[in-house]
């Protein structure tokens, strides 16, 4: 049996006073990995707290769910139904915090991206924007979620938005997964083919495909590195800060969790 090797980091956007993104990752029964990325909405006063709630409480909720449900037995139909309850449960913590600290629940606005991955099954869900994806056993990169984008740039939905049920998107994939990742939208312009022009119609569309020129060197580096987890994550934070000219200029906060499944370990 192999083992997942995961790293994660956040770096605040150029000009931001503080980073409002949050991330978490953990293991369940050794071969299942859970990753969460939350992007606290820039213009909402307590969104940094909202993003923290998503990652901390979200992780507890998912672990409890995996305790109660055998991952391999979860069907797509069941997952699509269950995520609504899971996100309702997560949202109930937002009500608790907003009541206790007398905050408007909307001031805690945050997106949610969750991956639950075993070497041969991937459950994903998202509310709002950001990207996530995986590497198949044929060494092809795919996206695992479809981000929500409103009419204007920057418009999206959050865990705190009305009509939660309409905003939760759930996905289930089967196969062999060699790598998984999630990232906040501050990283997507370099790591993803997003807005592309259709050669025939000339219309712009969201291709939503991980860019292999970005991901292949990254996972090879992680796989081959002998550095400690701490060192590797500190390096990764610097990479997100200024690893490319685009990342250095990016105004949005940048967060990524990436895991590589190494069969040799």
């Amino acid at each position: 049996m192999g083992k997942w090797k995961l790293i994660a980091a956040s770096s605040k956007g150029n000009g931001h006073k503080e980073c409002q993104d949050s991330f978490a990752y953990d293991f369940f029964n050794e071969d299942i990995v859970i990753t969460i990325v939350a992007d606290g909405a820039g213009s909402y006063s307590h969104s940094k707290i909202g993003a923290r709630i998503v990652t901390k409480v979200g992780m507890q909720i998912i672990k409890k769910y995996l305790n109660d449900n055998e991952l391999l037995s979860i069907t797509e139909e069941k997952w699509k139904k269950d995520v609504l309850f899971l996100m309702e449960e997560l949202r109930s913590y937002f009500y608790k915090v907003s009541n206790r600290f007398k905050l408007n629940i909307k001031s805690l606005a945050s997106t949610v991206i969750i991956n639950i991955c075993s070497p041969n099954k991937l459950l994903a869900l998202n509310i709002g924007d950001g990207r996530a994806g995986y590497l198949s056993n044929k060494n092809e990169w795919y996206s695992s979620i479809s981000p929500y984008h409103g009419e204007e740039v920057g418009q999206t939905v959050f865990i705190t938005s009305d009509n939660l049920q309409n905003n939760v998107r759930a996905y289930l994939y089967e196969g062999e997964f060699k790598s998984i990742f999630s990232l906040s939208d501050g990283v997507e312009d370099v790591a993803f083919e997003c807005l592309q022009e259709d050669v025939v119609s000339k219309k712009i569309y969201d291709k939503n495909l991980p860019f292999e020129g970005f991901f292949n060197p990254l996972i090879n580096y992680i796989k081959e590195s002998k550095k400690s987890q701490e060192e590797l994550e500190s390096e990764f934070e610097k990479f997100l800060m200024n690893g490319t000219p685009e990342l250095e200029l990016e105004k949005d906060d940048k967060t990524m969790v990436i895991g590589v499944y190494d069969e040799k370990i």
């Binding site: 213009s43 740039v153 970005f214 105004k251």
Partner: protein, 230 residues
């Protein structure tokens, strides 16, 4: 990871439409219009020097007196050589100019939607040294136009007065999210356009509906009695 070299994806850039509505009425003759002309060239220089702004910001310019002319159609600002030169003379038909600007942004949005191009909420930026004046011009209707547009998220308004501009009128027409400020004087127009380009630059890179800090530098504040704009 210093040795890590990654390639980065190339994506089509979202658009940030901006319309300048520039007063060229008779009172702007001489130094004021010269400063405005220099200012829009400097604005273009700053936009075209930034790798992101030059592909995202689409600028249209309306020059008005009692005639309303679109002197620059919506286009990205790739160089500073294609900026129009304005000549002053005539009355101040601000309402008609703003109606034209709101029509232009609606047309542009329709174009973006038809081509599935993501866009930021458009900005309409008015610069005047006087007050609405002339046949069929109504300050009340102008105020309704701006307030309704902001309420319905059609565009964001910024109104700037210079010299003898009627600031009471500008303040009366603004919506809840408008920015209105008085520029210290004609000799501050250069600083104003520098501030404007850095503000538009920041807007074109913002995300998440985030508020952009437009507070001018203390040493380069083109405005009167405004430590904070917004």
């Amino acid at each position: 990871m210093e040795k890590l070299r990654v390639e980065t994806a190339e994506n089509f850039q979202q658009k940030c439409p901006v319309v300048f509505v520039l007063d060229r009425s008779g009172s702007m003759a001489g130094e004021p219009i010269n400063e405005v002309n220099k200012g829009i060239v400097a604005f273009a220089e700053n936009m075209s020097a930034d790798s992101i702004s030059k592909v995202r910001v689409e600028l249209s310019i309306i020059a008005y007196d009692n005639n309303i002319d679109v002197v620059r159609e919506f286009a990205t600002v790739q160089t500073n050589v294609d900026m129009p030169t304005l000549y002053a003379g005539g009355l101040t038909h601000t309402e008609s100019a703003m109606i034209k600007a709101s029509e232009l942004v609606e047309e542009r949005k329709a174009y973006y939607k038809a081509n599935k191009i993501p866009y930021y909420r458009p900005y309409i930026i008015l610069l005047t040294d006087g007050q609405t004046y002339g046949e069929n011009q109504s300050v009340t209707r102008l105020g309704e136009l701006i307030k309704n547009a902001e309420k319905n998220k059609k565009f964001q308004f910024m109104g700037f007065g210079v010299a003898d501009a009627n600031m009471d009128e500008l303040n009366s027409i603004k919506g809840e999210t408008s920015i209105v400020a008085k520029i210290a004087g004609v000799d501050s127009l250069a600083t104003f356009f520098t501030w404007l380009s850095s503000s538009i630059d920041a807007l074109s890179k913002s995300g998440d509906n985030e508020e952009v800090d437009m507070t001018p530098d203390e040493d380069n504040n083109p405005f009167i009695q405004t430590a904070h704009v917004g």
